[in-house]
């Protein structure tokens, strides 16, 4: 008997429901997967994905980071995730000092306050971890850092969700996706103009004041559109990712109560649990790159001028890189292979330290709030989104 033909469809309903099944087949049967129908490549083995993330000269971000964008061949809006060096380096250096593990400690009190606030409002007998808790709190942290006034912080989350939402079979942006992008861009644009009038102690104001070298090496200011793009990205990347990681954490610990018990017994294991969650159920499934030239990888060659999926979530479960890769184990040896859950190389997650801090604080508080709990598995609802996976609903009941 032959297996059905291997077909990776990033917008198929089966893929949204369980991405890990197809990753295994791709790693084993087609490490350099080519999709004839849609004309793209996909990498799933750890060695190949890590090598491609390092090789930014072959695997360019300048055409965008999702298949729909890369295929249009148009130059996307100027945003840091759509840049190669040297532009990327200039933009990144404007903000990275605000996101170092040391600098991000200044957000600790804010995170604790928000986590406590949202947990205090839920009904322990029946609440939704994502909708009532892990959705609302991270967006408040990042938009507050950016400088978004309180009344609009939750709105930012709804724009992001709508913008990333995909119907099964939909690769290009829908009108709904585009409208959400336009609405959020218009909002941020007007906010940038407000901050130009009256600067505050926030990131938008700092970006307005910043200068970067232009192509001739002269210093220049960022324009309103660049700052709008950067702020939009911060809001997106800094919110819905932790939302999904914490939602998935509650599901995984319900499936592995002995590991929840380990955390209850020893809170110092929480940071290791966060790393394992990033490996095992990290929200970012892939980013798409465009080959500027023929690229050579441990498993073979990718031709020039093709969209390539770098599938980090698949690489993170590659048994060639991790012992018992398909097993959730918070005690595993972290040094065995690079965890790609927050990316790797020049585009690795700017907010990595914030993501870790938020997830750690969220877990610590959940351990206190629900030392014993059950998930209503029948009520789990997964998101159907471009490049990220996780749950839209995680119904939980705290056990007495």
């Amino acid at each position: 008997m032959t297996k059905p033909k291997l077909k990776f469809n990033p917008v198929a309903q089966e893929y949204f429901e369980n991405p890990y099944e197809i990753y295994k087949r791709m790693r084993d049967e087609a490490p350099i997967y080519y999709d004839e129908e849609e004309d793209f490549y996909a990498l799933t083995r750890h060695a190949d994905v890590a090598a491609a993330l390092k090789d930014y000269e072959s695997f360019s971000s300048s055409r965008g980071c999702d298949l729909g964008m890369v295929r249009t061949g148009e130059v996307p809006q100027r945003s840091i995730i759509f840049m190669d060096p040297p532009d990327h380096r200039h933009m990144r250096s404007l903000l990275n000092k605000a996101f170092t593990p040391r600098a991000i400690q200044s957000q600790r009190d804010t995170v604790v306050e928000l986590v406590e606030h949202y947990l205090s409002k839920v009904d322990p007998d029946n609440f939704d971890v994502v909708q009532d808790f892990s959705g609302p709190f991270p967006v408040e942290v990042i938009t507050r850092m950016a400088g978004v006034p309180e009344d609009f912080r939750q709105q930012v989350r709804h724009w992001i969700d709508t913008s990333l939402e995909r119907e099964p079979g939909q690769i290009e942006l829908s009108e709904k996706n585009m409208q959400a992008n336009i609405d959020s861009a218009m909002y941020y644009y007007s906010l940038v103009q407000e901050r130009r009038e009256s600067p505050q102690d926030d990131m938008i104001s700092r970006l307005i004041a910043a200068e970067i070298p232009d192509d001739e090496g002269n210093l220049r200011k960022l324009d309103d559109i660049e700052i709008t793009g950067f702020t939009t990205l911060l809001g997106g990347a800094g919110a819905e990712t932790v939302t999904k990681l914490v939602g998935s954490a509650v599901v995984e610990f319900a499936r592995h109560p002995e590991q929840w018990q380990m955390l209850l017994d020893d809170r110092s294991k929480v940071p290791d649990a966060v790393e394992e969650l990033l490996r095992y159920v990290g929200p970012v499934q892939y980013n798409v790159r465009y080959t500027l030239k023929e690229a050579h990888l441990p498993s073979g060659t990718v031709p020039a001028h093709k969209p390539v999926f770098l599938m980090k979530a698949a690489a993170n479960r590659d048994p060639r890189a991790f012992d018992n890769a398909e097993t959730f184990d918070i005690t595993r040896d972290k040094a065995q292979s690079q965890n790609l859950g927050l990316g790797y190389g020049i585009h690795s997650c700017l907010g990595a330290a914030l993501a870790r801090l938020e997830t750690t604080i969220a877990l610590e508080h959940l351990l206190d709030f629900m030392p014993r709990y059950e998930v209503n598995f029948a009520g789990l609802q997964r998101v159907t989104m471009q490049n990220v996976a996780g749950y839209h609903n995680v119904p939980v009941r705290v056990l007495k």
């Binding site: 170092t100 593990p101 040391r102 040094a335 690079q338 927050l342 990316g343 190389g345 020049i346």
Partner: protein
């Protein structure tokens, strides 16, 4: 031939992973600036330095021959 630790400060973002692996070699000061306390790669520190090279999320660390 000696081998030396090299940090690309254009890439380094003070994540401190290297310091966690081998603080005798890598130290972040309270301004988040990375200092190399001992640049020579020795048989005693080589294994951990290579671990730091591999685990740096920014790939900012390398080992050079001279």
């Amino acid at each position: 031939m000696t081998q030396k630790v090299v940090v690309d400060f254009g890439l380094c973002e003070s994540n401190g992973v290297c310091m966690g692996i081998i603080p005798e070699v890598f130290q972040l000061d309270d301004q988040d600036f990375l200092h190399i306390l001992q640049e020579e790669v020795t048989p005693q520190n080589e294994h951990q330095i290579r671990e730091a090279v591999r685990q740096c999320p920014r790939q900012a660390i390398s080992i050079s021959d001279e």
